[in-house]
Point group: C2
Chain length 221, copies 2
């Protein structure tokens, strides 16, 4: 079946990951007041082949100008539209412990089009309170609040114990995407996605590397 318009195109997750990298570099270039860039230059800066970069961009109809190259700001905007970070969507946060509160105060979510519309916790001392402008609901109200606030993404920052059950309830209530900050393996049905930000694993890797270096032991890549 031939694609009829851009929205109907099959886009691979790997393409999205690369687009995200291109956009980051374009923002850096824009901050450095670079207005135009040729595809081979941008490809070299982000470490992909020029052919790969042109394929990724051409599939969305973003053709550059042969003489001057791509317009840096325009291309960055186009990528935002493709990724969908140019407008806000509501997300829910599960767990208002120290990590959860840290995430509530982190502006990066809003900058990328995510508004934490509600927080959930089991602790009766937290339920009903407002943290960084967001109301904390009892976890019992999860399903109701998700529907009321049109939340389709859950950010997970709760304790590992019982987290799978919360995910299962989210899935049953129509959540398809999870951003998991908890060092815990989760399973979701096909068609659902869990993105894992595993700070502990990164720390463990750095710890190992740093100690190996202090011991002057050779580290294999």
């Amino acid at each position: 079946m031939a694609p009829t318009d851009k929205k109907d195109q099959k886009v691979s997750l790997h393409t999205v990951e690369r687009l995200s990298v291109y956009r980051r570099k374009l923002e850096e270039l824009s901050a450095d007041e670079v207005e135009y860039i040729h595809s081979h230059q941008l490809a070299a800066l982000v470490g992909v082949t020029p052919a790969q970069l042109r394929r990724d961009l051409a599939s969305f109809g973003s053709y550059g100008n042969i003489a001057r190259g791509y317009g840096v700001k325009q291309m960055s905007r186009t990528i935002s539209q493709i990724i969908g970070t140019d407008s806000m969507q509501n997300v829910g946060l599960v767990g208002v412990g120290d990590l959860g509160r840290a995430l509530l105060s982190y502006r990066g979510f809003e900058e990328r089009g995510f508004h934490i519309a509600a927080a959930f916790d089991v602790d009766p001392d937290k339920v009903g309170r407002v943290f960084a402008g967001r109301r904390c609901y009892s976890l019992d109200k999860l399903e109701t609040a998700l529907v009321d606030l049109q939340i389709r993404i859950l950010v997970l920052a709760a304790r590992p114990e019982g987290l799978q059950e919360i995910v299962d309830r989210g899935v049953a209530a129509g959540i398809r995407s999870f951003l998991n900050f908890v060092p815990k393996t989760l399973t979701v049905p096909e068609g659902c996605f869990v993105e894992h930000i595993d700070i502990s694993a990164k720390l463990e890797k750095l710890s190992f590397l740093s100690r190996q270096q202090n011991d002057r032991t050779e580290v294999a890549e």
Copy 2:
């Protein structure tokens, strides 16, 4: 050259990443009061082949008991010792903005053997103040404080502008490992490591996936 003891072994980064995953699963099992596990069971739980798991563990001399399997707690402790998270090391934090303050209040660092011993910022309003028990130094004092506090790892949570110069100064002062939370590409000389925790990129991927699903458009894996 043959390895003479454990410390002299060449350990690959991929092994460390897998060890980190094994340890996480072992902690979960321990929380569920599982005392022993057979290697093929653990391998299935973490999604590696039994042969791979046995190779990873055997290289450190961690042999299981044939009848009962591996002791869950003992194996978890052994992996901690190998990774080096069983004792504390000092790290420095660059940037005391909202992300930096969030990291200062995040207990996960201490739990993984990292003590944020000092924070650095350029803002005169922040310099000299104490945030979550840690003194904020002027970035001008970076080199001196790194030596005084025996810091070998820097956590980066500053603005992208000027970050590369801070990294260069860190490298010149003997820092070999960086944990970068800033959406910015950094370059370091050979023998130095940058681990990137890119929350923005994860958010962009989720944003795209979630919108595709709302549009009922097919997403290719």
